[in-house]
C-alpha cells in the first residue's frame, strides 16, 4: 500500500534524526553513507566524462591540423626535449601511484599513511609543474611563444614557420590547460591533507579522497596522451 504522505504537523518535521547513530559526515538529504558514497563517486565520474569531452575537443583540432601540416607538426615536436617530457611522465605516473595509495590508506583509516601519500602526490605534482615552468621559460626565451613574441624561424625550411607557430599554440594551450588542472588539483590536495591529518576518513567515509583520486588520475591520463602527441611526433 502506498505511503506517500501529505504534510503533517510541524513538530514531526522538527524531530531530531531518527537514526540510532549516524556518521558525522552524513549529509541529511541522503538516507545513509552508502547512498552518499555512491552519489559522490557517480557525480565525479560524470564530471570526468565532461572533462574527457573538454580535452577531447582540442585533441580533435590537434589531429586535424596534424593531418594538414605533418612536416610542421614534426618540426614543432622537435622543439620539445623528449627526455624532459619522459621524466615528467614518470613523475606524474608516480604521483598517480601515491594518490591511489592514499585512497587505499583512507579506506583503511590509516591516518598517517594517507597523509604522507597525499603529501607525496602534492610534491610530485609540484615537481611536474615546476619542470613545465622551466620548459615554458625556455620556449619563451627562444622566441617560440606564439603571437607577437614569436621570433623563431625554422632554419632548414622557413616555410614551416607558420605551421610551427600553430603547433606551439596547441602545445601551450593543451599543456597550459593541463597544468591549470594540476594547480587546481594541488589546491584540493592541500585541503585533503588537512582533513586526512585530522582523521576524518575511514572505512565508511573515504569518498572525498576517492573522488580526488578520480580527478587526479584523469589529469594523468590526459598527460599520457599529451606526451607522445607533443614530444614524440
Amino acid at each position: 500500500m502506498s505511503d506517500a504522505t501529505l504534510s503533517h504537523s510541524a513538530e514531526h518535521a522538527a524531530e531530531p534524526h531518527g537514526h540510532a547513530h549516524h556518521h558525522p559526515f552524513l549529509q541529511h538529504h541522503f538516507e545513509d553513507m552508502g547512498q552518499q558514497h555512491e552519489a559522490s563517486t557517480l557525480g565525479m565520474w560524470f564530471f570526468v566524462a565532461q572533462e574527457i569531452l573538454f580535452f577531447g575537443g582540442i585533441f580533435c583540432a590537434y589531429f586535424i591540423y596534424r593531418e594538414m601540416y605533418p612536416a610542421a607538426w614534426s618540426a614543432g615536436s622537435k622543439l620539445q626535449h623528449w627526455q624532459i617530457g619522459a621524466v615528467n611522465t614518470v613523475v606524474l605516473i608516480g604521483s598517480s601511484l601515491t594518490m591511489a595509495l592514499a585512497v587505499w590508506g583512507a579506506q583503511g583509516a590509516r591516518r598517517k599513511f594517507t597523509t604522507l601519500m597525499l603529501v607525496l602526490t602534492l610534491l610530485l605534482g609540484g615537481i611536474f609543474v615546476g619542470v613545465k615552468a622551466y620548459e615554458y621559460a625556455e620556449h619563451i626565451h627562444h622566441g617560440q611563444f606564439p603571437g607577437a613574441m614569436f621570433t623563431y624561424v625554422h632554419a632548414a625550411d622557413p616555410s614551416l614557420t607558420r605551421g610551427i607557430e600553430l603547433f606551439m599554440t596547441f602545445y601551450f594551450t593543451m599543456t597550459g590547460l593541463h597544468a591549470l588542472h594540476m594547480v587546481i588539483g594541488a589546491g584540493l590536495l592541500l585541503y585533503f591533507i588537512r582533513r586526512a591529518w585530522r582523521g576524518d576518513f575511514g572505512h565508511e567515509y573515504y569518498s572525498p579522497i576517492e573522488i580526488m583520486g578520480l580527478y587526479w588520475h584523469f589529469v594523468d591520463i590526459v598527460w599520457i596522451f599529451l606526451f607522445p602527441l607533443l614530444y614524440l611526433v
Binding site: 505511503d3 553513507m33 552508502g34 557517480l42 580533435c60 605516473i93 601511484l97 591511489a100 565508511e204
Partner: protein, 115 residues
C-alpha cells in the same frame, strides 16, 4: 502508515545503497600497475625512435590507450565499479569518437570533390 526502517530500503530496484563500501584492493596491485605503466612509457619512447612511417601515430596512440585503460580499470577502480560507471566511461569515449569520426568525415573527403 507502515513503519519505515531507516537506512535500509526494502526495494533494491530504486537505489543500491548499502552500508558496506566497495572492497579494498590489495596493496601489491597498485605497484604492479605502476610497473606496467613504466614499461609502457619506455615502450612509447622506444617505438617513437623507430621510423614506421604512417604507423607511428597509430602505435603511439595504441600504447597510450592501453596505459589509459590500465589507469582507468585499476587506479580508478572501474574494474570493481558498478555497471553504471562502466556505461559513463564508455559513453564519454564513444561520444568523443562521434566528434572525431564525423568531423574527419568532412576533412578526409574534401579532396574527393571533383570541382
Amino acid at each position: 502508515m507502515a513503519t519505515q526502517e531507516h537506512g535500509h530500503q526494502p526495494d533494491h530496484e530504486t537505489y543500491t545503497g548499502h552500508a558496506a563500501p566497495p572492497h579494498q584492493a590489495p596493496l601489491a596491485m597498485y605497484f604492479a600497475v605502476f610497473g606496467a605503466l613504466m614499461i609502457l612509457t619506455v615502450l612509447t619512447v622506444w617505438v617513437s625512435r623507430i621510423d614506421l612511417g604512417a604507423l607511428n601515430t597509430g602505435v603511439a596512440m595504441a600504447i597510450a590507450v592501453v596505459k589509459a585503460l590500465v589507469v582507468i580499470l585499476w587506479f580508478m577502480h572501474v574494474i570493481h565499479s558498478p555497471r553504471l560507471t562502466w556505461i559513463v566511461v564508455i559513453c564519454s569515449f564513444l561520444w568523443l569518437g562521434v566528434l572525431f569520426v564525423l568531423t574527419f568525415s568532412d576533412y578526409l573527403t574534401r579532396a574527393w570533390n571533383m570541382y
